[in-house]
């Protein structure tokens, strides 16, 4: 370890406590900055607009959506509110769909609906046209959601695609594929699974994963991770 140029009165090793970081400036990092600066200089948008959208992208995630469903499982009045007035229910879990501009983001319009699963109906969302997704409440979409493979095939062969996620539904369950678009965003409210009696809102929220809210998985006691954990190829050999 090199000398930091100041006295240490503690003896731990900084090399062991600092997380590793990429100590190399990549072409992609440079390209992102270059494109952004050129757009700003040409007056296409301002640095302030970019900062606001970036801040939005950094703070969104699936936690509010999971909390919303957990609360709906525990509180019938809140469930009724979530289904009738999803925007109002969103606010109660800290999400204002009009952020960050007062009109939402350019690709997140404010018509939002929560789709309730029943014993005989299973909902799943897609955007066949592009990759519309309920970002304010569910965060950025996973990579696979953006792929033409998922988008095109789910609307035609939903049971086959769901089976690829490990979700096998009986013929007695109707599958409804809800196609998002620029005017409408959807989220699934799955049914509360067995084995969760007496659970708190936080405990329930842990098993309501992003994939359950998209509809490619069902919540299950003890399962707190998404079905798909690695959609990109295995780590490329260095120097490939």
């Amino acid at each position: 370890m090199t000398d930091h140029g100041h006295d240490h009165d503690h003896d731990h090793d900084h090399d062991r406590t600092v997380k590793p970081m990429v100590d190399e400036i990549t072409d992609f990092e440079v390209l992102e900055i270059a494109l952004r600066e050129l757009c700003i200089e040409k007056g296409i948008f301002t640095a302030e607009e970019h900062r606001r959208f970036t801040e939005f992208a950094e703070q969104i995630g699936p936690t509010p959506a999971a909390t919303l469903v957990a609360r709906a499982w525990l509180d019938p009045d809140f469930k009724a509110l979530a289904l009738a007035e999803p925007m109002t229910a969103s606010k109660e879990v800290g999400v204002d769909w009009l952020e960050p501009t007062g009109f939402g983001t350019p690709s997140d319009f404010t018509a939002f609906q929560i789709l309730e699963d029943t014993a005989t109906v299973h909902n799943v969302i897609v955007c066949a046209l592009c990759s519309c997704y309920p970002r304010p409440i569910l965060g950025n979409s996973p990579e696979w959601y953006r792929t033409p493979n998922y988008r095109r095939r789910l609307v035609r062969w939903p049971r086959q695609v769901l089976a690829e996620f490990g979700l096998y539904l009986g013929d007695d369950i109707e599958v409804r594929v809800q196609d998002s678009n620029q005017k409408h965003r959807f989220m699934v409210m799955p049914m509360r699974p067995e084995g969760t009696d007496g659970w708190s809102e936080d405990q329930l929220a842990e098993i309501i994963t992003r994939d359950c809210l998209i509809g490619v998985a069902l919540p299950k006691a003890g399962v707190t991770t998404n079905v798909i954990t690695a959609t990109r190829a295995a780590v490329h050999p260095v120097g490939e």
Binding site: K19, P20, M21, V22, D23, E24, I25, T26, D27, F28, E29, V30, L31, E32, I33, A34, L35, R36, E37, L38, C39, K42, I44, F45, E49, H50, R51, R52, F53, T54, E55, F56, A57, E58, T101, T105, P106, S107, L129, C130, S131, N140, E143, R146, P148, Q182, R232, A233, V235, H236, V238, E240
Partner: protein, 111 residues
């Protein structure tokens, strides 16, 4: 057909999975990803400007380019390079000014 500037970037292949493995970093996506999200949103909001692709055009072109010319790149590098390709192809930016700006930005980051 890749513009030369983008072809060189693809060939150098400093993609995040390679970088993350080389330095033992665990973040699943590169640190510039949220800034790229902000860039796309800011562009979409400005799309009524001449030549700036609309949201749908931007996404359609990204799908085509990611699956075709830039299919060797992982996500989100393919999203970023496809966006650069679209802006060049539409003349929103020129290759000369992009090349020059890449040099300026790199020199600044390395100073």
């Amino acid at each position: 057909m890749k513009p030369d500037t983008l072809r060189q970037i693809v060939e150098r292949n400093q993609v995040w999975p390679v970088m993350a493995a080389k330095y033992g970093v665990e973040n699943p996506v590169p640190p510039w990803k949220t800034s790229l999200d902000g860039l796309c949103d800011a562009l979409d909001q400005a799309a009524c400007e001449a030549d700036v692709p609309t949201f749908k055009e931007r996404r359609d072109e990204e799908d085509d380019l990611s699956a075709g010319v830039y299919s060797d790149l992982p996500y989100p590098e393919n999203q970023l390079v496809s966006l650069a390709h679209s802006l060049l192809a539409r003349g929103v930016i020129t290759e000369d000014e992009l090349q020059q700006r890449l040099s300026v930005v790199r020199a600044r980051l390395e100073s």
